[in-house]
Symmetry: C2
DNA sequence: CTTGACGGGTTCCAAAAAAGAACCCACTAT
DNA sequence: ATAGTGGGTTCTTTTTTGGAACCCGTCAAG
């Protein structure tokens, strides 16, 4: 199986990763959430080659995560903005960053702090169940197969 | 900048992605959370080449996300188990899968359902602030630079 | 005692992707 | 006439994948 064919797997996560799961793309999204919008700004901040950046921005745009909007005419200039669909990826970015803060910070501490403005404190991101409102642990979640997709589940060993 | 040098950036997210941010690694983690533990099981489910799988499992083990434990002697056989550090990545996996369910599902619907066993309903993953307990939106979070890391923040344009 | 199977890899080569640098184009400003 | 800006594309070299074969220790069967 080639990496570019994983979007054909019957798995939501695989199809998601087909758009955002390769090298650089999640870093591009990090910068999007920090307000970066222009090609050269991405390029300077990431240090990625222009060729790869061009490819990743195109994939994100085709995937509906970013929208290419003109902000001036003559000469036409455009910028990349997060769509609603793109903004829905925010929890992923926050949890990734928080995990890094917890486990990979060096002696200087985390380079960025996130403040939850509605309560005024440092954001302590948790996984919450929107139905009952409680915080969720990995071992409180049970996975069930959609009937019709048999044989894709676990190896029948206890976690 | 090469992809393998991004772990030297002063950004928690970049360092996190240096371990788990490349092609295939997040899919390996998906299977870990579904209970897969053995080399050949990963290989068959993912369809990735053994060479790449070997490399990804090694990186995850070196990063402390998986632990290689022997489950029998003569001949020695080992399996890969999530560590506590690895299990802390669960919110990332859940949000990625849920985003895919929402935006990329085909006519058959999501292939897997996640049930929050403590409330009995389908898990509706949300980003929660552990301090105030409320659900968090992207626009309620403000980012501040750690003094000592100047010049890494946004382009001073309003989101 | 030879053959085959199992789990868990490593080695080889060809093909694809990324790195790095140069170039391009439409327009504006000097 | 020249230089600069934003947003790329094209070129060549290096690195990473994909695909397949091979290896190793052990057990079990014929």
């Amino acid at each position: 199986m080639r990496w570019q064919d994983i979007d054909q797997q019957p798995c939501s996560l695989a199809r998601t990763l087909a758009i955002i799961g390769d090298n650089w793309t999640l870093l591009v999204l990090r910068d999007c959430f920090l307000g970066v919008r222009r090609f050269d700004d991405f390029q300077q901040r990431l240090g990625v080659t222009r060729h790869v950046l061009s490819d990743r921005l195109r994939k994100l745009t085709e995937g509906g995560i970013l929208a290419k909007v003109a902000y001036q005419e003559r000469p036409t200039r455009h910028e990349y903005r997060l769509t609603e669909k793109g903004k829905d990826l925010y929890p992923v970015i926050v949890h990734l960053a928080q995990w890094g803060d917890k486990y990979l910070a060096d002696e200087h501490g985390a380079p960025l702090h996130r403040i939850h403005t509605t309560c005024g404190h440092t954001l302590d991101a948790q996984l919450q169940c929107g139905h009952c409102g409680n915080t969720v642990n990995a071992n409180e979640v049970q996975v069930k197969e959609n009937p019709g997709f048999e044989g894709k589940l676990l190896v029948n060993s206890e976690q």
